[in-house]
Amino acid sequence: MQLFGKIFPKALLFGFLLSIASCSPNYLKNFKLLNNSDLKIPTIFNQDYQKSLYKANLNIIGKELSGVLLFKRTNKSGFRIVFMSEIGLKYFDFGIEYGGEEFLARTYYIMPALNSGEVRNILINDFSILLSDFKANRNPIVYRSAESKRIAVEYKDNGQAYICFRQNGGNRIGEVKWKSKAGGRSVITIDAFSDGIPSGIEITNKKYSLLLKLHLIEQ
């Protein structure tokens, strides 16, 4: 019992330290603050972007949904995101409106199987980053990797810290990483662009075993 009394606080402390370490994403390891940079975050989609259609595969906790996903600008500061099966049945239909300090999201439809836990919030949050014009991004902090010279821009929005990594040698965002208590870590990866529109996008969230893969359908 005495031994338990000695070991338990240490184990507790070790567990606490371990949990802190595992919660702290080391996204900016080997990156150094770049002082006096006026670098802004480029929008992921072109400023005059109107719409695009993607072949989509969504995996959530071992279940897979496939279909097509449509991004469409509905007004100067708003978008709709509709994901439907190949045979036309809708999985979800979200609206995102920018303009204020925080974006406003609206769920027009979500199939019951997807409307549980944090899945809907994770998807909406990630889409809001993907389509953002980053105007709320007032005080970005710019970093550069000492080794790869890769540029990373950190900014805060909706109480979350997001880190955008620019593609090597380009002025485009290649990766966005963020973390929230409820949703865990999310990573958005963009592998290429076609006429200013991402042609391949991957959204991953390990906590929810969520993986959304999008491939641009050229029309």
Partner: protein, 209 residues
């Protein structure tokens, strides 16, 4: 002036009584028997199709194309070729899906949603729905088509679909169009082209590896 008046009247008549307007058939007994007879006589179908998913609030439509095969009692191959490759085969109690070359197999009996989708496709394509008590069925006609409008009773289906409209060619009684209407008025319209029935279909059409 007289010509203008007549043109105006014709225009008014066109809007008041559009050619495509459907009117309800009061006594649908004869039509039901005809649909049933035609359904019994069709053993196989091969047809190209154009699918248009219409998102009403967005004023947007997504169009895809493909080919489908049907063989009694319930084998289906539903394949998209544009703008993506995607094939569904229903055979031997299995639902097989090829998504960009990756094949997944599901047991129809183990998944109620798959079974319902499979039953609805067979029912709509073959016209075998006249005695189906899971739907309220209304019958309509215009100059070219008979229209059967099916409204589902089951909550699981009505959450996804508010109605299914099946359009039959008045001369051949072949199914020419299918319209799946969702709550909120979005719909999927499937128009069949190069429709052939009662032809020999190879077994390989219903195999997906």
């Amino acid at each position: 002036m007289r010509v203008i008046s007549i043109s105006f009247l014709l225009l008014l008549f066109h809007f008041a009584y559009p050619q495509s307007a459907f009117v309800q058939i009061g006594d649908a007994g004869k039509l039901k028997a005809e649909i049933k007879k035609h359904s019994e006589e069709v053993n196989s179908i091969k047809s190209d199709f154009v699918q248009e998913k219409n998102l009403s609030m967005l004023e947007e439509s997504v169009t895809s194309e493909g080919r489908f095969f049907f063989r009694k009692p319930g084998e289906i191959r539903w394949g998209y070729s544009k703008p993506y490759e995607y094939v569904i085969v229903v055979a031997d109690g299995k639902f097989r899906i090829s998504n960009e070359g990756k094949v997944s197999v599901f047991d129809i009996g183990s998944n109620q949603m798959f079974r319902q989708i499979s039953d609805m496709i067979v029912m709509a394509i073959s016209g075998d729905f006249v005695d189906n008590e899971e739907f309220d069925i209304g019958f309509f006609e215009n100059a070219d088509f008979y229209l059967a409008e099916l409204k589902p009773h089951a909550r699981q289906i009505s959450d996804m679909l508010s109605a299914i409209k099946i359009y039959f060619d008045k001369t051949s009684m072949d199914v020419k169009k299918l319209k799946f209407i969702e709550p909120g008025d979005d719909y999927t319209l499937i128009v069949f082209k190069n429709y052939q029935k009662n032809i020999d279909l190879k077994d390989s059409e219903f195999i997906l590896n």
